[in-house]
């Protein structure tokens, strides 16, 4: 199994993602922002960082990178695309996922441990997680407050596309008062086909007990399992019209 890890100028969690993949004993290759060749990878990770400095607006420039054209095609063909932090922001700007990530409700950057409930385990990103399991994964962002219009939020909920939701450490709801104030406490959502995930927390920082948690590894393991068993979806995920 081979992960491709996008590298835009300003990306910094590419090395951490490669480390997480290596902890599992798998291979990763960097995908340079100017290249269009995805090198036959099984899953593309859009990692954290400040692509192109995030000047103008987070992810706003990165979506126009040549690499993103290939990522769009890859996603349309059902390939696994995993946006983490800045990667989530880029996916929203690229309209591969709905909604937007705005400034944290605190108006401050936040780097801290967060907890999130796995809302479904039939996704290629969470199939190695338990139902309702609470994952401890840190965040590190200034603009991670997920917002969308009411119709989009309803559609996301109705189609069970909220994959990760911030909760307290004991699993109890936080009722809108999450680390960044996201609507519906959304930490991560998937595309209509379920093959594109965007999440603000950094699973690649939760891959060793030494660093405080290895819950993130479950997500990497899930992707490996999904690819290696050649069945991305544990059940027939609803396949509807592409998002926008």
């Amino acid at each position: 199994m081979r992960f491709g890890i996008a590298v835009f100028p300003g990306t910094w969690s590419d090395r951490d993602c490669a480390h997480a993949v290596s902890v599992l004993g798998h291979e990763s290759v960097p995908l340079w922002h100017r290249d269009r060749d995805l090198q036959g990878v099984d899953c593309v990770i859009l990692p954290g960082g400040f692509a192109y400095g995030d000047y103008l607006r987070t992810g706003a420039v990165a979506r126009f990178a040549p690499l993103m054209e290939s990522v769009q095609e890859f996603a349309a063909a059902g390939g696994l695309v995993w946006g983490i932090c800045n990667g989530f922001q880029i996916l929203c700007e690229a309209h591969l996922l709905p909604g937007a990530l705005t400034r944290n409700a605190s108006l401050e950057f936040r780097c801290q441990m967060t907890w999130m409930r796995v809302e479904r385990t039939d996704s290629p990103f969470t199939r190695e997680c338990g139902t309702g399991q609470v994952l401890a994964i840190p965040v590190s962002h200034g603009e991670g407050r997920y917002v969308a219009d009411p119709e989009t939020l309803e559609r996301l909920e109705g189609e069970r596309r909220v994959l990760l939701r911030y909760v307290a450490a004991d699993g109890s709801p936080v009722g809108g008062v999450s680390v960044n104030g996201s609507m519906r406490d959304i930490a991560g959502i998937v595309s209509a086909q379920g093959n594109v995930l965007g999440m603000m927390p950094h699973p690649e920082r939760a891959c060793e007990p030494l660093l405080g948690s290895d819950d993130g590894l479950r997500m990497f393991r899930s992707v490996v399992a999904a690819v290696e068993h050649d069945s991305l979806f544990a059940d027939a995920a609803p396949r509807r019209e592409p998002v926008r």
Binding site: E108, F109, P138, L210
Partner: protein
């Protein structure tokens, strides 16, 4: 070049030179320097670049040791951390800019120290920041704090280097001169260490990275004069940072480290192109000739003077053989970075700058760097020190009960939780931060070695205010204790000396004393000084800051499994004090809170005892006997007990009888005195005997205090408090008050 006319006092003030220094330059040259040359001489002869006041004193510091790969003199120091790796690090101040424009001042301070480390080829793996402000209760000070923290985060978070530690203190003396000292630590294979030493006449000098603008002109000289009411007008002397550009620059430079095509690498910092080119050439015993017509500009109409003294950020110089220029430039092109061939290395020993066909500067390098006219100001021990030192803190009755005192200490902005600050910094990127901010020292895994480095900064200026020598020695010991507390041996340090105007005899006396104190402590603990920075002229309207010696310490832990945290980890563990019992209240945070004074003898410091205590604790952690270990610092034993409880989420019951025996002031002295050379540790009952035996063999006192567990902090006969209430006080210390001043 024709002789320029003699200069006015205003022109000399602009470049921070005295009339005598100007005459010296003129006689050395046999002519008057041109305007461009005057600016260049002023910059390189400034305190900031030339250390003209501090150099003779700094020579007294120990700079060698078996692990030292690079001592002072390069962009940063480097030490051997095993596995063929070098740890490269330095601390530097950005005080004046931050006082004027806190966000950009702090941000570019971080950017500058990062370049110092990656210019040596090392990948930066950690940042730390040592901050000082006026009273937290004042909204203007919180505004500065907020801007500085946002600037540090804005730069560090964007570039993807974790900010893992540091400290912050609030004191009257910093009201008009906040301090922002940034430390960067990098790691590199020893064989790839890159130096800023030019070689090979004919080799090409490349200027890479950002375009050159008018920002930061005179930054170096600005940092070498006092601030005053019109300092806000110097805002153009503050640079503006672009962390994204620096991230790209860093990736290329780190990738090029050890590449045979790179002869030398030097970053542009204070005095911009002037000091970078001059130092690069001079270190290699070469000359240099550059043509500034080839420097990419971000503004039109810049004069040669402005180009040479611009402190535009995110720029580097490389020396490359002519045949390699194209291929090296291609590496920068890949990251969309500008690279300009601006000149050549020569064998003339001269510093020649032309603007197209016109030569605008032709000076001997030796004069610019070796012949910096040293200043030897008068020194005088300040009057009134003896009286202040003779005060007896034990005669001042405590205003509060011991329990209330502890609560107030934990709520003090100088002691309480730093989380409201460090949660605004990315402290985990890199996947190596094992001990996060909030402990005694940060611990970073070093891949491929099984070990880790421990990092901290420290520097209590309240001790130094009345006794700079003792204060600086304590700063070294305290920083060493911090890394020892996590299980690492202190192997080398960097320092930043923040002082007032050295032309005042009292200030120059403080500087000499502090360097002597640092020297004594370094020799006693066997810790070399491998890099450092001096920030003088921290004065406003004639008021100087308290002498502030900031120490950045690097410790080495060879086996990551043998580490220790500061929080209690289990119930029923025995709590012990390693080191002496003491009641040193002079200069303590207790004294500041309870009486609003700084008086009385400084904490006693026995350097030999300090070394023995540290050795005992290191051996105990290395042997796996300790379940927690916390250094005693501000707030003394009482605060250390509460912090170990808060960090461990469990209480403590102190049953040792001696606390309850004395009068209220003795109880306060025992609990809140800041006596040195002490650790609070906990151990499983079965391991206590082994700890005692090792301590005894080294003639170190160990006392059983009590036992961990429960939800309260109890000292029999003295205080009993709910842990939750203490936690609340601690957590709220740095949250802005609802109503400010």
């Amino acid at each position: 070049m024709s002789d320029a006319p003699a200069v006015s006092a205003a022109q000399l003030a602009e470049v921070a030179l005295t009339r005598e220094e100007y005459e010296l330059a003129t006689s050395r040259l046999g002519r008057h320097p041109s305007a461009v040359e005057l600016g260049i001489i002023g910059a390189l002869w400034s305190e900031h670049c030339g250390y003209k006041t501090s150099k003779p004193l700094l020579r007294r510091l120990p700079v060698t040791g078996p692990r030292v790969l690079q001592g002072p003199g390069e962009n940063a120091g480097a030490v051997d951390i095993g596995g063929g790796l070098a740890c490269v690090f330095k601390v530097e101040s950005h005080n004046h800019p931050s006082a004027i424009e806190p966000y950009q001042g702090a941000a570019t301070g971080v950017g500058g120290i990062l370049r110092d480390v990656f210019t040596m080829g090392a990948r930066p793996v950690a940042l730390l920041d040592s901050l000082r402000f006026g009273p937290f209760e004042e909204s203007a000070q919180r505004h500065l704090l907020d801007g500085v923290v946002a600037g540090i985060g804005g730069y560090g978070n964007c570039i993807g280097v974790p900010t893992v530690g540091g400290e912050v203190y609030f004191d009257e003396s910093y009201r008009f001169n906040c301090l922002v000292n940034a430390m960067c630590v990098g790691i590199i294979e020893q064989g790839r260490l890159t130096h800023a030493t030019a070689a090979g006449p004919g080799n090409v000098v490349l200027l890479v990275g950002a375009d050159t603008g008018r920002d930061g002109i005179h930054g170096a000289t600005f940092a070498s004069v006092e601030l005053n009411e019109s300092s806000a007008e110097r805002r153009p002397a503050v640079q503006v940072g672009n962390p994204f550009l620096e991230k790209c620059l860093m990736e290329v430079c780190v990738a090029l480290a050890g590449d045979p095509r790179i002869v030398a690498m030097q970053d542009l910092g204070a005095a911009g192109l002037t000091s970078a080119t001059a130092e690069l050439a001079h270190r290699g015993g070469c000359g240099i000739a550059i043509d500034i017509a080839h420097v990419s500009r971000r503004e039109t109409g810049m004069t040669p003077y402005e180009v040479m003294l611009s402190e535009s950020q995110e720029r580097m110089l490389l020396v490359v053989r002519p045949e390699d220029v194209a291929s090296v430039q291609a590496e920068f092109d890949r990251w969309d970075l500008q690279s300009d061939g601006i000149g050549r290395i020569t064998d003339s020993g001269r510093f020649v700058v032309s603007d197209g066909p016109t030569v605008v500067c032709d000076l001997p390098l030796a004069m610019l760097i070796d012949e910096v006219p040293l200043r030897h100001p008068d020194q005088r021990r300040p009057a009134g020190l003896d009286r202040a030192l003779a005060a007896d803190p034990l005669t001042m009755a405590p205003p509060w009960s011991p329990g209330e005192t502890l609560r107030r200490l934990l709520a003090s902005p100088n002691i309480g939780s730093r989380r409201p600050i460090f949660r605004r910094y990315d402290h985990q990127v890199g996947d190596d931060t094992v001990i996060l901010p909030g402990g005694d020292a940060a611990l970073l895994r070093v891949r491929g070695t099984g070990g880790a480095i421990a990092l901290c900064t420290d520097g209590n200026a309240r001790y130094g205010e009345l006794d700079p020598r003792r204060g600086a020695a304590i700063a070294v010991c305290e920083a060493a204790r911090n890394v020892v507390a996590v299980g690492a041996a202190a192997i080398a340090l960097t320092n930043c000396l923040n002082f007032g105007n050295p032309e005042k005899p009292e200030i120059f006396w403080q500087l000499g004393e502090a360097i002597e104190g640092m020297r004594e402590a370094c020799l006693a603990l066997g810790i070399p000084v491998v890099s450092g920075n001096v920030s003088l002229y921290n004065d406003t309207a004639g008021v100087s800051i308290a002498p502030t010696t900031v120490i950045g310490m690097v410790g080495l832990l060879e086996d990551l499994e043998r580490r220790c945290g500061a929080g209690f980890t289990g119930n029923g563990d025995v709590v012990l004090l390693v080191g002496p019992v003491g009641m040193d209240l002079g200069g303590s945070e207790y004294q500041r809170l309870a009486h609003g004074v700084n008086a009385g003898p400084r904490p006693t410091l026995d350097l030999d005892l300090e070394a023995r205590v540290q050795a005992v604790v290191l051996e105990a952690i290395g042997s796996g006997w300790l379940r927690s270990c916390h250094d005693l610092a501000e707030g003394g034993l009482g605060v250390a007990l509460a912090e170990s409880c808060i960090l461990g989420g469990r209480g403590v019951h102190v049953t040792a009888p001696f606390f309850s025996l004395g009068s209220p002031i003795v109880q306060s002295g025992l609990l809140f005195g800041e006596s040195q050379s002490r650790f609070l540790v906990s151990a499983a009952p079965a391991d206590v005997a082994a700890l005692r035996a090792v301590a005894q063999s080294r003639d170190v006192e160990v006392r059983e205090l009590g036992v961990t567990g429960g939800g309260r902090v109890v000292v029999d006969g003295v205080l009993a408090l709910e842990l939750k209430a203490l936690q609340e006080a601690y957590d709220g210390a740095l949250l802005a008050p609802a109503t400010g001043t």
